[in-house]
Symmetry: D3
């Protein structure tokens, strides 16, 4: 068991994937943002007006996941071929669930892209609401599933 992002002398590097073939890959990550009940109410009421917090956060998350390799030092630049972000308000738990799915026909997996999409969507919700609630918590960002590539399918056990 070893880290692939370091060479045998412990120096960080971008792993060589030149010889990998272009195959279809998909990753699904999710996470939560917890907030006061009043904050969630405001977001949900907002949603039926012209603008809405979710649409801004969705755009932010999608734009961010496209520049994952610009944020995470050893990530390979990838031409993402599909992405979507969904928000599921869970008012009884004072939280919003964020799901991000990313697709690629390419040489490496898109787990980091999906995790980045969730993270930046959550940060954007925080930003849009921080004037009324500074105690929101971003939690449980995790990989739910990935398919494709040499390491095959990963499904998180619940």
């Amino acid at each position: 068991m070893k880290f692939t992002h370091f060479d045998e002398e412990g120096r960080s590097k971008m792993v060589d994937v030149s010889e990998k073939s272009d195959t279809f890959r998909e990753a699904h990550a999710s996470g939560f943002i917890y907030m006061k009940q009043e904050t969630l109410d405001l977001i949900l009421n907002k949603k039926i007006e012209k603008g809405n917090v979710f649409e801004v956060a969705r755009v932010a998350g999608i734009m961010a996941l496209k520049k994952t390799s610009d944020l995470i030092p050893m990530c390979h630049p990838l031409n993402i071929t599909g992405a979507e972000i969904h928000f599921t308000p869970e008012p009884d738990k004072n939280r919003i669930k964020i799901d991000c799915k990313v697709r690629l026909t390419g040489k490496t997996g898109v787990e980091m892209e999906a995790l980045t999409g969730v993270s930046v969507a959550a940060l954007t919700i925080y930003d849009m609401c921080k004037a009324v609630d500074k105690e929101m918590i971003i939690s449980d960002i995790m990989l739910i599933k990935k398919t494709g590539g040499k390491s095959g399918t990963f499904v998180r056990k619940v």
Copy 2:
């Protein structure tokens, strides 16, 4: 109680801070990344070799917080005047604590910058270690303290 990032008709906007004065502001955010015990052991052993996971994640977090306004749609661009990220391994809890402090003499707070620094540092740790552990969880990203600005000091109650 209302959202400042929307106008009276519900359209998102970047809040006008033109008239605010340049004052000293500081924000401290923190978060955790949970992982298998073996993964944490590997990171800590790695740490005594030439390269190390923490240094890569620290650089990534600091570079990312400088482009917060490029990631979060309604964030104002800011000339951050200081930033640091610390990692505290907590082996008994199978997690690493991430703390990020950001400083600015400017017109708006740097909460989003501190939260972005924590998030991207955590994502980078995930990326560096995902070859050995895909089940890591990024959790409890929150604002610990902020000072400065019209809204004054905020300290999170434990």
Copy 3:
């Protein structure tokens, strides 16, 4: 009458504004995107559902105007202090009017930022609708008004 972005030998340069003082400046630009009647109908109907073309285009325009200096070679980097983009559908003329206002307390004007906001908002509308209409036309992007700075107020004559 001469171009300030070239030196006396005709070489492009970024004009020196080091000695200018930080004053309040505002710029207002506008433009239009023309489209088929059916396309405009679709956008307007869409608007009452969950997502909407205007919110995506607004976010895109605001994010783009923050990186004007990254797009326009001789533009000074600026810490924009406020921005908003409005869309006014004009169904009888088969077009949407786009207005962008940008504010800054700083050393140079924000005309380019306002014009960039309009341009990228228009391009985003084109992108969101191009599957149904490739003949849209982006037109009449112009500066409406600017205030502040040594050159004073400019108001476009109608």
Copy 4:
């Protein structure tokens, strides 16, 4: 007739093109910038000295079209394989015509890249000349032709 950038519930998304094959695609967009006769004269005289407005605008347009997916939220990142921008002064009409052609062997069309190239080249001309003429107008940015891809060839009717 429907928008592809929204799912069935109206949420914006990046369309999935994972299964599309890499084929040759080309797009040609054009636009105009109108200005005072004196401004155009200055540009054209400038052109025979060392630096010139067109070369700066050409570089800006080419650099911008490479980051189209960073500007337009739902655009796929693409590895553009060729691009050129031409300027045709039309002194009798007090305007400059801007043509941008972009080529790609890839999974989606490059219309947005060509339109972005024209837009940013026009904005750069505005910036280079705004000290002498604030009333310039950027107009008639449109797609002239596209070839390749499932939707085939589009040629704008004059």
Copy 5:
């Protein structure tokens, strides 16, 4: 004598300059690119045609120095207030001298910006000419002079 970019335990950080005042600062860096005589001849002949290598390299250098803080991890983001890049062909030495001057009214020096401007201008010349000469060498990139700031004036001894 110690490194300011590390804390007392050896962790990299972005130095805190929050308390520094905004003062005028200037930096001048230079460097050379060596090439075959024929390559230099081609550039100089090119120069009298429509486009020219120097104008492309100048634009690239100026755009790059504006994003120095996006390239160099511990650099503070700065709103550069002026920049220029000059090229001096020295045909008898088969080289081109590159000079870059950067100005700022701000809290930290602009040495890194000037050095980055020289470096990217040199890289761009390499790129524009590499089809005819792969053996070019970029050399002697150094700080010539800086003024302003607490550490005062530095002038390189020849």
Copy 6:
């Protein structure tokens, strides 16, 4: 012998590589940074503590080479498939050697990426050490070897 980045009328352009096939390509560039003996000693001592100059510079160089096409105007965007940067201190010559290797399966060579990696790694070393030594010199940045592509293998003669 002619420049490929200009058309027959001398206008700069991005060369069309649409018809090239995706083949394996590799480039190796190197360079040096010269410094005072005390500065090099400090770096080497630092290296055995927690953080180190080389790891920060390595991360910076790798992140920068991923955005080469964002820095060099006529460079094609590429999805780099592997990269590494090594530092070799040469205390007897008061310098550090920097080697950067970049790999790609794609349509154009990665010489510019390797040269950019060396340049930004060198600039980062300068930045990390400039508080103690402003007279460092970055020199002899050159292409050592490239393989792959139509123009075949290039090996620099020593």
